[in-house]
Symmetry: C2
């Protein structure tokens, strides 16, 4: 029995949303239901995904399940920081494939703009190692800055190559009405921007945001009644790495992504060259370059060259993040995985508008939690 | 393919544990591995279960998976407040039955004694409805006090009947070296104790605690290599109710438990009368009485009579909470479901010592999250 994604939806990603968390989730849910043949009554369970401690309401699954009208059906919170909704999809895959349920909904959300920037920093830090790293400043930007420095040192990756990832991101975000930043930035803009954690400058970093995403999954039998274009989960991989970066053997790539990728490719029976379109977790520009390598889109150390040659643009070898990615969409932690899946599903359904990749049949989603702590790779296929 | 529980373990439940959360989890893990034929290397994934905001470390799955030596295998946080580890077992069931994994470990933990009593109250409140209930005092004790009053009003349940639940609990806790309270209390002790939320007095309430539990699950093929006495998951049900109690239609029972119970009985193909031993979520004495009714051990309104007649003692119709239950063991939120499962597994394996129920073959676990928000019922069978 195969498992399908039958519907995807998302709110705009934005700062200072005036919606409550349940309203954000409802909007993503409503958006998903709009163009599929499914009554909410048929949904058998919900999986609610967000990173904790941004909301006054603890354990938001109960609140959100009720607000979506899904009571008394089972619900739970699934979490792996920035990859929470990919984790939710993995949990949903298990529920469907095991026949515990036939149709489940995965809601990812985060409302990050209610707390101050310093509170956000503090909270972000406590998602990383709280013993030896975050108290001394090694939070997300510093962690990825260290990866960038190591990558530059080992492979000669340049500031310009990092900047080119953001230039591509900003170009494609112009076609994504739900993206937070929709202004094209130039290589010069990127290079002269202020430092955040050297070598990462402002445009090398994604931004906190408010938003929600929704993915509805179904068993093969149910899927065909809900949509004419079900998109199949062909491969689903997950891995972890050490919490603290000093315990890592690889600091020029993410081992959790390499492992998760291998699992997903094996399960799907495809190779990197078979992927028509990919969404990768570009929380920082260096993260996208490492993802190219970790997913086998190029050899280790050649990620910079891949963007230099524009191979990850539409028309290139492997178009990546053609919805603007985290860098331009914004990154409402729990919602990001679902948003990435939405983009790939739309691509495979031929509904991606201006950024449609002709004949896209196989797509990949790479979603990372923490400073390379949780790796999730999902491969989707059109019929 | 059936799914088995092949190993269970637990730390003592206590106040002011001097262990860190990772040390608590390690102790439960070590305890589990002690008497089964399994190397940690064979475990393919971990599911880490706790209620958020008690720990400085956010998203503890990464920390704990690494501390247990399980990196780079996938890990995630699964949560449903006080039923988090039952939810983790449900997620694990999906992973195994779907063949994503062959052996998984579910770790539940909570370290609650590091925060002050007033902080604990505040946090507990934010697990309930934060809009109209907890700010006005309707937290766990008040919510269950309301159920108790309604039950007394509708069915004539008495203070004495509530107290008898605690008397039974304290008696059996004497045989449980891991329980927090191991002193027999009399009916008189209970009745003269100070009010917490009338009609609930001190001995009607469970207590915050520190502790961890561990459940290792495996596919049928693997199970027989790991243990000579695998215990099978025969039925697994889950449901939710509204977050706010004013939206409930039933306030003399928990609809989420009734629904979850029906699912579990159907799936297992058994009836209430077939259950040889049960662990129910006695966060308050009234909760156990409602559980008797909601699980079909007696008719609605006859829960008080069931304890009056000592039918839930060993030798009675259906022995319940013969390990002391939450009331005497203590209730380290995320660890409780796993601890309940441990007791039932030991009963079905014939390893329960002084409280062994002769010939126990079918056992039931009832684990509730929030003020009747998340309901989980699991039915286990010996071969």
């Amino acid at each position: 029995m195969r498992v399908a994604i039958v519907g995807v939806g998302q709110t705009p990603f934005a700062r200072n949303s005036r919606m409550s968390i349940q309203e954000l989730c409802f909007e993503a849910f409503r958006d998903t239901l709009e163009d599929i043949n499914l009554s909410p009554k048929e949904i058998e369970a919900s999986i609610i995904c967000s990173a904790p401690e941004y909301d006054k309401q603890r354990s938001p699954a109960g609140l959100i399940s009720e607000y979506l009208g899904l009571t008394p059906r089972p619900t739970l919170c699934a979490e792996s920081l920035c990859s929470s909704s990919s984790t939710g999809v993995r949990v949903g895959y298990g529920f469907l494939k095991s026949r515990l349920h036939e149709i489940v909904v995965v809601i990812g959300f985060q409302k990050m703009s209610e707390i101050s920037s310093s509170e956000a920093q503090e909270r972000m830090g406590r998602g990383a190692d709280i013993q030896w790293e975050s108290p001394f400043g090694t939070m997300m930007p510093a962690g990825y800055a260290m990866f960038a420095r190591a990558h530059m040192h080992k492979y000669g990756t340049t500031d310009e190559q990092l900047a080119k990832v953001k230039v591509k991101s900003s170009k494609y975000a112009l076609s994504n009405p739900l993206a937070m930043f929709r202004r094209e930035v130039t290589l010069e803009d990127c290079l002269k921007a202020r430092d955040i954690a050297s070598p990462l400058k402002m445009y090398d970093c994604c931004a906190n945001a408010d938003g929600a995403s929704c993915v509805i999954m179904a068993s093969e039998e149910k899927a065909r009644k809900i949509t004419t274009v079900p998109i199949w989960i062909a491969g689903i991989g997950a891995a972890s790495d050490t919490l603290a970066t000093p315990n890592r053997t690889n600091i020029t790539g993410l081992d959790c992504a390499i492992q998760a990728g291998k699992q997903a490719y094996n399960m799907a029976g495809v190779e990197p060259k078979d992927i028509d379109v990919a969404e990768v977790h570009d929380c920082f520009t260096i993260a996208e370059i490492m993802a190219y390598e970790n997913l086998g889109f190029c050899k280790s150390g050649e990620g910079g060259k891949l963007i230099d040659e524009s191979q990850t643009y539409i028309g290139g070898k492997i178009p990546v993040n053609v919805d603007g990615g985290l860098l331009s969409k914004g990154h409402p932690i729990g919602a990001t995985g679902g948003s990435q899946i939405r983009t790939i599903v739309h691509q495979l359904q031929g509904r991606a508008g201006k950024t449609q990749i002709d004949g896209a049949e196989i797509g990949l989603i790479h979603n990372i939690g923490g400073v390379g702590l949780y790796g999730n790779v999902t491969i989707l296929k059109r019929e």
